[in-house]
């Protein structure tokens, strides 16, 4: 017998979901060493060996996959499984696209179908505020959390056990704006629709430049067309009385605020739709709209400032207390998920200890943070 300690039975299901290794393989005492030198790392972790990723990125993915395990459990407890809805959306969009068409065209067409199927058509107005709730309703896991020492801007990978896999899209919120993340999230959504079946992880890095691959080209066009299709930009240009060759900084800030897309994307859309020339694109790209935008849009506030502005009308835990940690890695949990856990506790579906476990904290921290929102545990 070898000297390795056996993994305790209670840890197996969770480890299996996080590592992507079956419970059977985890319990196996055989040394699985391939003779040809190939790696036995599960596909997701094999891909995460990318040299541009650091330990913090990998730990973060592990943390999110752990969250996915709890989310699946919560859905099972509350009978609210929704992953199938996402599968249907992704399949419908994907099946309507001609894969031999130019990737940018694929992206634009897919975006048009996606806006309609995912219920993101919202007149001709910006959809930034709808993206997250609509995606989550369809069963996609959306996480925005800061990873400071990382060049990762967004990624997409599968979480959950075999029978309940679902895509998770992640946007790094460190030194990023809400407008920017709208694009990142939709970019990753495109990867979730088209690429996840063949590639277990899609990684997008800050300042990556224009990578000339089909998936990247398609995802870029998809996010642009989802956020600022021609109809939306024309609508706001008319409403704001914009003359494209005399665009002011204030007008550009207003366009950003209304379309919910960052300056660079708005200008790229205007340029792509023939509204501005190369010269105007260069000139308007040099505008610094930050100050004006901060004055007219709450979304330009930092996450902390934004949450603070909501704190008066929402429970305290939404603005604070949502950051959990596993080891040294921290993760800001989605507010909707935290609320579901608290609701399940109050309705007696799970114990306080289970609620704490689902939020990846101990029961003492849970009660300290959410004691006001849940019934205090009485003694037996």
């Amino acid at each position: 017998m070898d000297q390795r300690k056996q993994i305790p039975g209670f840890a197996i299901p969770e480890l299996s979901a996080v590592l992507g290794i079956s419970a059977k393989d985890l319990l196996s005492r055989k040394h699985l060493t391939p003779t040809d030198g190939s790696s036995l790392a599960p596909a997701v972790w094999f891909k995460l060996r990318d040299t541009r990723l650091g330990d913090s990125d990998r730990e973060f993915v592990g943390l999110v996959r752990r969250l996915g395990f709890s989310m699946a459990q919560l859905e099972e407890i509350t009978n609210t499984r929704s992953a199938s809805s996402w599968d249907a959306i992704a399949q419908t969009v994907s099946s309507k696209i001609d894969r031999s068409a130019p990737p940018a065209l694929q992206g634009r067409e897919a975006a048009s179908h996606f806006r309609s199927i995912a219920n993101l058509q919202h007149g001709q107005t910006g959809i930034g505020e709808l993206i997250r709730p609509r995606l989550r309703q369809s069963g996609l896991v959306v996480i925005e959390s800061p990873i400071s020492k990382s060049s990762l801007e967004g990624c997409c990978f599968e979480i959950g056990a075999d029978e309940d896999k679902r895509p998770c899209v992640f946007a790094n919120s460190f030194k990023s704006t809400w407008f920017r993340r709208n694009e990142i999230i939709l970019h990753e959504v495109c990867h979730a629709i088209f690429d996840l079946a063949n590639d277990p992880v899609s990684l997008d890095f800050i300042n990556e430049g224009d990578s000339p691959t089909i998936p990247e080209e398609r995802a870029r066009a998809f996010s642009q067309e989802c956020l600022v299709p021609r109809s939306v930009i024309v609508h706001y240009a008319n409403q704001l009385g914009i003359k494209w060759n005399e665009l002011t900084m204030e007008q550009l800030a207003r366009l950003v605020a209304e379309t919910h897309a960052e300056q660079r994307l708005v200008l790229r859309a205007a340029h792509g739709n023939g509204m501005i020339t190369d010269d105007l694109l260069a000139r308007y790209s040099a505008y610094d709209c930050t100050a004006v935008l901060r004055a007219i849009s709450l979304h330009m506030l930092t996450t902390r400032e934004y949450m603070k502005s909501l704190a008066a009308e929402m429970p305290k835990w939404i603005a604070r207390n949502r950051t959990t940690a596993l080891g040294t890695r921290r993760l800001r949990l989605p507010a909707g998920y935290v609320k579901q856990v608290i609701d399940a506790t109050n309705s007696g579906e799970i114990s306080i200890g289970k609620a704490a476990e689902m939020l990846m904290m101990d029961r003492y921290t849970f009660l300290e943070r959410f004691g006001d929102s849940v019934m205090e545990p009485a003694l037996v």
């Binding site: 209670f10 506790t345 007696g348 799970i350 114990s351 306080i352 200890g353 205090e376 003694l379 037996v380």
Partner: protein, 233 residues
């Protein structure tokens, strides 16, 4: 065993909550006393050991006391519910019991946390009492129709038992009460805002010695108020 005396339970299985309170109030000696005088072995699931050690190293009110748990595990005051310890206690057939505990624990883990799940699973499979303070887990499992062995012992059942068998005087119990209040651990209503001796007549003890004079409330108050009577061996 002395003929005519009902058998004591072989084990009492502790959840994290009671275990941590025994540690933070320095009362693990009561578990040694239970073992020595009544042949009742204290035990924890490995999931509880992991959770307790994590809390003992991270939560300020418990921090720095992990050595107490390690020592109690190494000197046999508390045993882990694993093959070697249970094998020694129960003899053959332990592997099947452990598999059953694992499978039950996995099932219960959907509704209650890991420590709670494996503690109640073990108690159910082995038919021995559980020590836990967490009413939300107990309620959750009872609502699901789980058959939880009774009685369900609380931290204060051990204190009152210690007092009944003269291992703890009233002043020591009150010190424990004050310590618990200071660190923000919940107290039963009868001990909240009043001394131990004042509250004792209202506390229905679920763990008692069959020979020592009875103390505490005479009548049960809640449906979980059932007694485990122990006899010296």
């Amino acid at each position: 065993m002395i003929p005519g005396k009902p058998a004591n339970p072989l084990l009492i299985i502790f959840d994290t909550s009671v275990l941590l309170q025994l540690i933070v109030t320095d009362q693990l000696s009561l578990l040694r006393y239970l073992k020595a005088e009544y042949k009742v072995q204290s035990a924890i699931a490995t999931a509880v050991e992991a959770e307790a050690l994590q809390i003992l190293t991270t939560i300020p009110r418990f921090m720095g006391r992990q050595e107490q748990l390690k020592k109690a595990l190494s000197n046999g005051t508390i045993i882990r519910l694993d093959q070697p310890s249970l094998g020694e206690l129960l003899g053959t057939g332990v592997d099947a019991l452990l598999r059953q505990i694992d499978s039950e624990g996995l099932r219960l883990h959907l509704r209650v946390d890991r420590g709670e799940a494996y503690t109640h699973a073990a108690a159910g499979v082995l038919g021995v009492p559980v020590a836990t303070n967490d009413i939300t887990a107990v309620n959750r499992l009872l609502r699901d129709g789980e058959d939880l062995p009774r009685p369900i012992l609380r931290f204060w059942d051990f204190m009152v038992f210690g007092h009944q068998v003269a291992q703890l005087d009233g002043a020591s119990c009150d010190k424990v009460r004050q310590k618990m209040a200071t660190i923000g651990e919940g107290l039963p209503p009868c001990f909240t805002g009043r001394g131990f001796n004042a509250g004792l007549p209202e506390f229905y003890a679920r763990l008692v010695d069959g020979q020592a004079p009875m103390i505490g409330a005479l009548n049960p108050e809640g449906q979980l108020d059932q007694r485990q009577v122990l006899h010296r061996r």
